[in-house]
């Protein structure tokens, strides 16, 4: 009996060691999901960079050329606008690509989170920590994305909060003072 008991213990130990070997020192959990996300994230970052570059690239020289070559009857306004519209189209296309890649990255990240939730136990406490690190990387990319995706016209509102009705509450005294002081000042 004692021999059998010892053999059973040995077998259990072997199984544990084998399992440890295969899971901890072999392929890590969520590796496939991580790989997928890494690809999506890299592509998104690349697209953000390209869009930013495109937005910042100047078409001033193109405008000058278009204006100098404009046909009779065509105004400077028409020439300027036509060049700017072409740039706007290119930027919009690039932004569309960013949207699509951002969507793909989001889905990939959701897969990692699902996988991490399923794998997170006492044996893999580092998965959640790893997710937090990825989250920080993503936050930076999202900030860049927000800037790149915001149309130039609304950059002026990027750091403002939306106005509410309270911003227009009637303060009679303040109004009166403001009106008369501004009137006096403007004379």
């Amino acid at each position: 009996m004692k021999l059998h008991r010892a053999a059973l213990d040995l077998l259990c130990l072997a199984v544990i060691v084998f399992a440890n070997q295969s899971l901890c020192h072999g392929q890590s959990p969520c590796a496939a999901e991580m790989e997928e996300w890494r690809n999506a994230f890299a592509q998104l970052q690349e697209a953000i960079g390209e869009t930013e570059q495109l937005k910042e690239s100047s078409v001033a020289q193109d405008i000058r050329e278009r204006v100098s070559r404009r046909q009779s009857g065509q105004s400077v306004a028409d020439s300027v606008r036509s060049v700017l519209e072409q740039k706007t189209i290119r930027v919009s296309e690039s932004q569309e690509r960013c949207w699509a890649l951002a969507e793909r990255e989001k889905l990939a990240f959701q897969e990692i989170k699902k996988c991490a939730t399923a794998s997170a136990n006492r044996r893999y406490p580092s998965v959640n920590q790893h997710l937090k690190e990825l989250g920080r990387e993503r936050d930076k990319a999202i900030r860049d994305l927000k800037y790149v995706m915001t149309q130039e016209a609304y950059i002026q509102y990027l750091n403002q909060r939306p106005l509410t009705q309270d911003d227009y509450s009637f303060n009679q005294k303040a109004y009166s003072n403001s009106w008369y002081s501004s009137f006096k000042a403007s004379r």
Partner: protein, 490 residues
């Protein structure tokens, strides 16, 4: 029972005798003779009364005159059919406790939407060309939010009002290059507004060949506020050039930049207000006569006048070479973009209403400068600020640009930004920028030169515009920026 009788005053100053009768004691009381003309107290009383009377005459009369004048200024021209322009002048109850406008059934009952099947009042059409009225009605009702879009087939794009400008370069049969204008069928059948939506050039300045330089119409674009009325002036920019003038209190202003110089007045045909004052415009920039007064902010809605006098309204791009720009002025965001009303804007990643306001500084009526009104004496301002749920209802102006390069100036009373923008879309504008606001600042002056540098006549675009605004810009400099429009005659 004692009785009293009073002797007449004997002494010039002091006394009268009061004799007591009916009593055993006869005596005399000495009292001051109040009735004597030389009595100091009486003189004092008369002086006090005189002062009060003089004060009344001196202070009250001008105030009353101003008050009468104000009534003349503020009473809406269309009062018989509209009470727009200044609702408070007609019904103070229209404003709620918080100062916001309260719609009342009795007001709205007088307004009836035009049926989409009924014939619109386009009689007297002076435009060179008209499109299918049915198509127009549909697209207009769509723009006004009364009808769902035609569908996703792109059909609606083909029928957008702005398509009217596609044929702008064609001959209209008589004179080449005249703008092709589409009359706008009225939204409201009742009460009718004479010639609503009909572009007219009659009675407006012309070039030396008698061709129109500008066209005008009035329109009620709002379903929610039927009394909102917009007066529009469309400039034929092939025959008219425009220049920015800086207000005398604005940064960068010089003595000559705030008044139309005498040598330019014989060509002057119109003046409109410009955009907001610099102190209210935040990061907005200005270029005047090729000189950068304040750097233009990228993306901001900008009215640009190029060196060839062509005009555009754009979201400013630093790519635009400054050497091409003569004048530029900025304010916030486009209110019309791609031929559509901009109803929401992204603010820090959130969708926000596109209405443009300035806190409590928007108003529908303002006191005339230099006058104290009765209401002001008791701490009540005699102007209606806009606040509460309808804070955006105000006197506003805007500029729109059409595909044919022609500029439309719109001055609206009792109106929101979006309703003003709707009117500009109906006028065929692709892009538009908000202009100055408040009754004191919204100006559309039309000038008729006598050929000798003087004016035979000056007219207001809007009947509700303040009359005193006609004296600015040419007779004296003005504190706020403005645009002057000149006959090209080339």
């Amino acid at each position: 029972m004692s009785t009293f009788f009073i002797e007449e005053c004997e002494e010039p100053f002091l006394v009268r005798r009061v004799r007591l009768e009916g009593s055993d004691d006869r005596g005399e009381m000495i009292a001051r003779c109040m009735n004597h003309p030389d009595n100091p107290k009486r003189r004092l009383a008369w002086s006090a009364w005189s002062i009060v009377l003089c004060s009344f005459l001196l202070i009250a009369t001008p105030a009353m005159a101003a008050s009468n004048h104000r009534d003349g200024e503020f009473a809406p021209f269309w009062e018989s059919i509209l009470w727009g322009g200044n609702p408070a002048a007609n019904d103070s109850q229209s404003f709620g406790n918080n100062g916001g406008f309260v719609a009342r059934d009795s007001i709205f009952k007088t307004y009836q939407l035009a049926s989409s099947d009924s014939e619109s009042t386009v009689a007297g059409d002076s435009s060179p060309q008209q499109t299918d009225p049915a198509v127009w009605k549909h697209s207009i009702r769509e723009i006004l939010g009364l009808q769902p879009p035609l569908g996703s087939s792109g059909e609606d794009d083909d029928k957008s009002p702005d398509k009217s400008t596609a044929a702008d370069n064609q001959d209209n049969g008589t004179v080449k290059d005249l703008p092709i204008l589409e009359n706008i069928p009225p939204l409201y059948a009742t009460p009718p507004l004479p010639q609503e939506g009909v572009w007219e050039s009659a009675g407006l300045p012309t070039d030396k060949n008698g061709n129109p330089l500008m066209y005008r119409t009035s329109y009620r674009p709002s379903e929610r506020y039927p009394n909102a009325i917009v007066h529009m002036l469309l400039f034929d920019m092939k025959r008219v050039s425009m220049s920015l003038y800086l207000g005398s209190s604005e940064p960068g202003a010089t003595a000559s930049s705030s008044i139309v110089q005498p040598e330019d007045r014989h060509k002057l045909v119109a003046i409109t207000n410009a955009l907001w004052k610099q102190k209210h415009s935040g990061q907005a920039g200005t270029i005047l006569a090729s000189r950068v007064i304040k750097n233009l902010f990228p993306g901001m809605a900008t009215l640009v006048i190029y060196q060839d006098s062509s005009v555009d309204i754009v979201e400013w791009s630093p790519d635009i070479p400054l050497e091409l720009v003569n004048d530029a002025k900025q304010l916030r965001h486009l209110i019309v973009k791609d031929g559509k009303v901009v109803s929401t804007i992204p603010v820090n990643g959130h969708s926000s209403d596109s209405e443009i306001g300035l806190g409590y500084l928007l108003s529908e009526s303002e006191p005339m400068p230099g006058y104290q009104y009765w209401g002001g004496w008791w701490g009540q301002p005699s102007y209606n600020t806009t606040s509460g749920p309808d804070w955006f209802i105000a006197t506003r102006s805007a500029f729109g640009i059409r595909n044919d390069g022609n500029l439309v100036f719109a001055a609206g009373h009792h109106i929101s930004t979006k309703d003003l923008a709707k009117a500009l879309v109906l006028a065929g504008c692709q892009r538009a920028v908000h202009g100055d606001a408040n009754p004191h600042n919204v100006v559309g002056n039309i000038y008729f030169s006598d050929g000798n540098g003087r004016f035979a006549k000056k007219e207001k675009l809007s009947p509700d515009q303040k009359t005193y605004t006609l004296d600015r810009y040419v007779d004296r400099s003005y504190t706020s920026d403005f645009y002057a429009f000149f006959r090209r005659d080339n």
